[in-house]
């Protein structure tokens, strides 16, 4: 599948944004956040900022962005519609969470409930995003049991490094969160390695003989293509660059997205330049996850290209 910049930004930035909201809501619900009046509202604003940036970016790849509101209507059947609904539904409780924190304080029941509701909806949003891909039967690299858990793990990891960085910048140290980010980075790395091993051993979904209904002839070979230039299907789904550079790009993604942030989180947890280390970890994770997401698209093969012998 041809990676579209807007969709890479959408899935990566909303992972950071909703991941951060999920962490904030959960920690506040458990009473683990320091009762600093400004810290939480600023963090929520940053989380919603990341999410909004991703959502706005995603509308750029639409043929008709001005009709985007129509995408909220088909939540009964469409994961894309559900994602839109959940993404919007997270905003009111998140804003309420920040407001109540400011008005009633960190310990108030209303604040904690709003936090937990925002956290749950943030998770639901990421899950809906993952299901857009996981539900597509023609793409074997997406339609498998890895996709949904991976998206959730990556969002938890993104939120953890981002929160660790904000915390360290604000309070000067973030031992607990740095450790959490370290653990999340290693879990995310494990998940990605397992995913790559899985897609490398997958078999193609169908044979050309089955795609053409010619199973009774045994083998089927492509002879002539219908057209000598690329059509929409080949441009959109016949992307082949990644398959050529997959090994190198996977290494780059693994190092930037997970290994380097893990190392920097470890440094921060030892109280060495925590603000610098966690900020660098966040930037590295952002770039690395964009590469990882690029590969997620570029390495995905669409069954329809079998008609072209691709």
């Amino acid at each position: 599948m041809t990676p579209a910049g807007s969709v890479l930004l959408l899935t990566t930035l909303t992972g950071f944004g909703y991941g951060l909201i999920a962490w904030l809501g959960t920690l506040a619900g458990l009473g683990f956040l320091p009762a600093a009046p400004f810290f939480l509202p600023v963090c929520v604003a940053i989380g919603l900022g990341f999410s909004s940036a991703g959502l706005v970016a995603s509308t750029l790849h639409l043929g008709h962005p001005e009709r985007a509101w129509r995408a909220f209507s088909q939540w009964r059947s469409s994961w894309l519609s559900r994602e839109g609904v959940a993404a919007m539904a997270t905003f009111p409780p998140a804003v309420a969470f920040a407001g109540l924190w400011w008005l009633l304080g960190a310990g108030a029941v209303a604040t904690r409930v709003a936090g937990v509701v925002a956290a749950v909806l943030a998770f639901v949003t990421v899950f809906c995003t993952s299901m857009i891909y996981a539900s597509l039967k023609p793409i074997r690299q997406w339609h498998n049991p890895h996709t949904a858990p991976d998206y959730l793990i990556f969002a938890v990891f993104s939120g953890a490094v981002l929160l660790a960085a904000l915390w360290a910048i604000w309070f000067g140290a973030a031992k607990g969160l740095a450790v959490a980010a370290l653990v999340a980075a290693l879990a995310a790395l494990g998940a990605k390695l397992a995913y790559w091993r899985f897609i490398d051993t997958q078999k193609p979904l169908v044979s050309l003989a089955s795609a053409t209904g010619l199973l009774s002839f045994g083998t089927v070979q492509p002879l002539d293509r219908p057209h000598f230039t690329e059509n929409y299907v080949l441009r959109e789904m016949g992307y082949q660059i990644a398959r050529k550079h997959a090994v190198k790009l996977r290494r780059i993604a693994a190092v930037l997205a997970f290994l380097l942030p893990a190392l920097l989180a470890l440094v921060a947890s030892e109280r060495v330049l925590p603000a610098v280390a966690t900020t660098a970890a966040t930037l590295s994770a952002l770039v690395g996850l964009l590469v990882e997401r690029w590969l997620f698209f570029a390495e995905a093969t669409h069954v329809s290209t079998i008609y072209y012998g691709v």
């Binding site: 043929g63 008709h64 009709r67 209507s73 089955s210 010619l214 299907v233 069954v303 008609y307």
Partner: protein, 243 residues
């Protein structure tokens, strides 16, 4: 609504039968389809640089050629590919806007281009590569089964069939109702063993393909093995020439 409709009692299941035995790969169906549809329901269809080096545009039919089997018994098979108007298509259910829908009364799968946001998800959900995006208008386009011909009362009744069916010079395409066991399409599928493409994906395509016939006309042996005057003459000739 992008939820799939409940099948209606007495409803139709309209679709095509494509005969891979008689298709000669002339692309006439694709051309007439483009011609009709660039003025029809989905008009216009993009057609960029049509006489230049790299022409491209939206077509609802694409005609491939394959070699089926191998060795001396292999066959060249021309293979027209278009929307199969599946019974349980994901291209409909993934659509976030309700633009992609399946009609309850006859099963035709359509796009309402007035509300399509151009997210392209439906094309990702189609395993047959049947949908093509119109970059000029920013909306998805696809085969309509010539909905503006088959119900068109301005056309003489004999012409109320899809453009591809009407134009095929070798009569390799047939249109009809698969819910009617006596329709031509149902009979062809029964007689010739019509097959569904990629049934393992679970989309339950309506269109069926008739596999090429395997029968060959047995050729007379050039030399008879035992007895007969021809054989004796050849034997003598063989002896003379081998000397």
């Amino acid at each position: 609504m992008t939820s799939l409709p409940e099948p209606q009692p007495g409803g139709k299941k309209l679709g095509l039968v494509i005969d891979l035995d008689t298709c000669v790969g002339c692309h006439a169906c694709a051309v007439n389809c483009k011609e009709w549809n660039t003025g029809g329901h989905h008009a216009p269809l993009p057609d960029h640089n049509p006489y230049g080096k790299e022409p491209h545009g939206v077509w609802f039919n694409r005609i491939h050629s394959y070699e089926a089997g191998c060795g001396s018994t292999s066959k060249t098979v021309n293979f027209p590919r278009s929307c199969l108007h599946c019974e349980t298509p994901q291209c409909v259910t993934v659509c976030p806007t309700g633009a992609s829908y399946k009609r309850a009364e006859d099963g035709i799968v359509l796009v309402n281009t007035d509300i399509c946001i151009g997210c392209k998800l439906c094309s990702w959900a189609c395993p047959y590569g049947a949908r093509e995006f119109d970059e000029d208008q920013g909306v998805m386009k696809k085969c309509t089964l010539c909905i503006d011909r088959i119900y068109n009362e301005a056309l003489p009744e004999a012409e109320r069939e899809p453009a591809c069916v009407a134009t095929c010079p070798s009569r390799a395409r047939h249109f009809g109702d698969f819910n009617d066991p006596d329709s031509k399409v149902s009979r062809l599928v029964a007689e010739r063993g019509g097959v569904a493409l990629m049934p393992e994906l679970g989309y339950a395509p309506v269109n069926r393909y008739l596999p090429p016939r395997k029968a060959t006309i047995p050729a007379k042996p050039l030399e008879r093995q035992h007895g007969g005057s021809v054989n004796a003459l050849l034997k003598m000739l063989d002896m003379v020439l081998s000397r």
